[in-house]
Amino acid sequence: MSTATTNGKKAAQVHRPSKVGQLATWVDDRTGIAGVAKKQVRKVFPDHWSFMLGEIALWSFVVLLLTGTFLTLWFKPSMGEVVYNGSYDQLRGVSMSEAYASALHLSFDVRGGLLMRQIHHWAAMLFIAAMFVHMMRIYFTGAFRKPRELNWVIGCLLLLLGSLEGFTGYSLPDDLLSGTGLRAAGGFILAIPVVGTYISFFLFGGEFPGDAIIPRLYTAHVLLIPAVLLALIGLHMLLLVYQKHTQYAGPGRTNDNVVGYPMMPVYAAKAGGFFFIVFGVSALMGGLMSINPVWRYGPYDPSQVTAGSQPDWYMGWPDGALRIMPGWETHAFGFTLSWNIFLPIIVLPGLMFTILLMLPFIENWITGDKRDHHLLQRPRNAPTRTATMVALMTFIGLLWAAGGNDIMAIKFNLNLNYITYFIRVMVFVGPVVAFLITRRWCISLQRADRDRLLHGYESGVIMRSPEGAYAEKHLPISTGETFALTSREHDDIPAMPSDADENGVANHKVWLTRLRVRLARFWYSGNIETPSREELEAARHHADDELAEQELAEYHDSHVQHDRHGIETGEVGKH
């Protein structure tokens, strides 16, 4: 396929009509694919551990497809009543839905069935967790910036659909726990103003629980949602390949290139191998760690409940919001509006999702940045952005903790009511505090970077000055590191607009522009600029002098005056 003629050995191989060559010719004659493939075969992918997170999500989705298909061969999505007759003693003779009976059959009478069920559930956890962490990585490093905003939106949709897929999935076995979850979901829907009751009746085919919900969820779980997920994942990958992966700044790594290993063979081997790692880890988890032992819960019965009922962890935060919400309900004109349910479980997740989706666009509106970005930022170099996400995470984290308030109360022997009151306050205070701390922290880290650029790194060598003071010797950092640390874009702070433009025409939306400029100023405020070339050279020069002088001073034991070059460079070697 290659026409490279770098050495004789290779060329000879190419001219022999190989099997691969023949096959490629056959395919290309019918598809003309070589034109597209020639670039992709050796496409470059940069290497970094944090780029693996999305891969975990991708591969666990594949594991889900494989194990899920296995499960469908035995699972019966029916709520028809049967008397269980299988191998599990404790439930034999009990009336239950066919769905639950077939879930038991899978667990006890199909060899490897329990394993597949558990791999499927663990892989689902892995899928959603990996998507969460991958999304954090994208946000914190600014990888969502132009031209990648669309992939951020697709990613958000994937997270939403993934969570829905998880919920529909763990509802299917129709055990007591999942039935309790469905019961709550039914309650949520009833709380939607005006149409809630109708939606609920149409969804459940009548009153809860009815006999329709499991088959309907099944269709959504094995057909509708996976199809959309698959299409979106395909689009996600296509855009990734077309736009080429982002990379971290470093020597030879700029905004205009991408440095890494070629698709064939290195990346293919690594990524392909990684699929087996993800599958292998899921299989080990499925074999060694019990998850969702449905046989312990028993069949669903609306008058029974297991104490400490919890949704799967990724649904925990809306559940927490529900728990700490005061019991507000409005009755007017013969209608009831349940704020206590509608706000935390319908409005809040919708709002949070919208915020998540809009983050790139909000940032872009504030900064007015129109450039293409292929170099990743370090979180510290975008303090306001980093702090925004940490604030959101704090909010979600606190709600998540609230979702386990009963467990915390029991485990730590605390008063449940006090935990609830505490979190009610903290969900408002916590994010603000987290925002401020994170922002300051980032700025301090920027300052540390600047110090490192100007004064070098701590060598670990202790020097004694003529006065008898001890200090650590600093040595300049490498050119590569200097380049990486200074590969930062300059802040582009817009000017405050006047009431009229330069032609004297009144500026109508001036308040909006002013708001934007104010936000942009806040966005960038506190940033420590990288030193200018003069500063850097002066500091290096100064440090060289000082080192030389100190070494000299050790000899002559004489007092040395420092030339400060008129620049505040800090106390080099005298910390």
């Binding site: 081997a269 790692i277 409940v305 509006l337 206590n340």
Partner: protein, 371 residues
């Protein structure tokens, strides 16, 4: 291993690409002589050959290791197959190995190891033996060229004008109308997803005179059998009755639907601990009260009873109801008190309902009204 060049891409050795960094606004200085510009791109680091690149022995060793991974993987597949037949499943997986079952543990372990070893082998192959020369690929602008854009817009406009859609509004409007009408079959087609709610959420199977029975055995309850502080999970007697053919009147889905609304609890408190609201003075029988078991929050069955305080706690979101005070919410997200079922004693001395609940039970809904 290190000589894998191509024309389009350059490896570390020959790729000292000093791309001007668009961000920092400084021109990189030349590398040839003079002081090194700290802001200039020093280019990729020299490729450091790995031991496997230069030492044939090391390469052989890596080759053997990788092959060993693959062979070991195949060995674990064999173990998987053996375990598949050796270990019996069924009955209770909780008897072996702390609850997971020998079959499940061995199958998972061997399958997992087999998969992992393939993965480890492949990655090791890539790391140790495949070329680790980094390749530089230049980016292309994401956007198309200006000429392409213009051509596309022109083509689109040509297409639109050829269709005449702008000149013939009658066609356009009637088509839009016809397409919009197709929404109706979709909506109508989904109409039979479920019946209309009617008043179904507001009524239960409870009727005047229906006995309150124990929820497990269906035995009726005599007031004197209930001790102070005791809580009994209860159901309406009809859910245990059989029809003329000896079949249960309620079974399967119907039974679950009925239980969803009609489940109750019977509690007995000291009469002096109860403060009934006006109109409820005779709803109890000597300190025995009956409440809906379904939480008014989102409908979990409530189960945790604190005898001393007469508080009933919902395990789902911890709403707490004071049964001494008409089921009032004293903590948590529930918005309404637990509905109370008026009790009486029937002619044979058993607890029975005076009527259905006087308000809808369970979670709130829009049409619920102000009761």
């Amino acid at each position: 291993m290190t000589g894998d060049h191509e024309d389009a891409v350059r490896g570390n050795q020959d790729a000292v690409v000093a791309q001007p960094q668009p961000g920092h606004g400084l021109e990189p200085a030349g590398h040839a002589d003079g002081p090194v510009d700290p802001f200039a791109d020093p280019g990729l680091e020299e490729h450091e050959p790995r031991p496997t690149d230069v030492d044939e022995h090391a390469a052989r060793r890596a080759e053997r290791q990788i092959a060993a991974c693959f062979m070991l993987s195949a060995f674990f597949v064999v173990l998987f197959c053996i375990s598949f037949f050796v270990f019996k499943i069924g009955n209770n997986p909780t008897t072996i190995l702390g609850g997971y079952g020998a079959s499940n543990v061995t199958l998972g372990l061997f399958l997992g190891l087999a998969l992992l070893l393939i993965g480890i082998g492949a990655i090791q192959w890539a790391r140790k033996l495949m070329s680790d020369v980094e390749v530089v690929e230049m980016r292309h602008p994401t956007a198309s060229s200006e000429a392409d854009r213009v051509a596309t817009v022109e083509a689109l406009q040509q297409g639109v004008s050829d269709s005449g859609i702008a000149r013939r509004p009658l066609i356009r409007n009637s088509l839009v109308g016809a397409l919009a009408m197709l929404g109706l079959p979709v909506i109508l087609g989904l109409r039979d997803l479920g019946p209309l709610p009617g008043n179904k959420l507001s009524v239960t199977v409870w009727r005047k005179g229906m006995r309150v029975v124990n929820d497990v055995a269906g035995t009726p309850i005599k007031p004197e059998e209930v001790e102070i502080g005791q809580l009994i999970n209860s159901q309406p007697e009809i859910l245990f009755e059989k029809d003329a053919n000896g079949q249960p009147k309620y079974a399967g889905t119907e039974l679950l639907n009925a239980k969803t609304k009609a489940s109750t609890i019977v509690v007995r408190m000291k009469p002096e601990d109860i403060t009934p609201t006006p109109g409820r003075e005779n709803w109890g029988v000597s300190g025995i009260l009956c409440f809906s078991k379904i939480c008014t929050h989102v409908g979990c069955p409530i189960s945790l009873w604190e005898q001393q305080t007469h508080h009933l706690l919902c395990p789902c979101h911890q709403s707490t109801f004071d049964l001494g005070n008409n089921g009032k919410v004293i903590f948590g997200p529930a918005g309404r008190p637990l509905p109370q079922l008026p009790l009486m004693v029937d002619s044979e001395g058993y607890l029975a309902a005076q009527s259905d609940f006087t308000e809808p039970v369970g979670p709130s809904f829009w049409e619920r009204g102000e009761r």
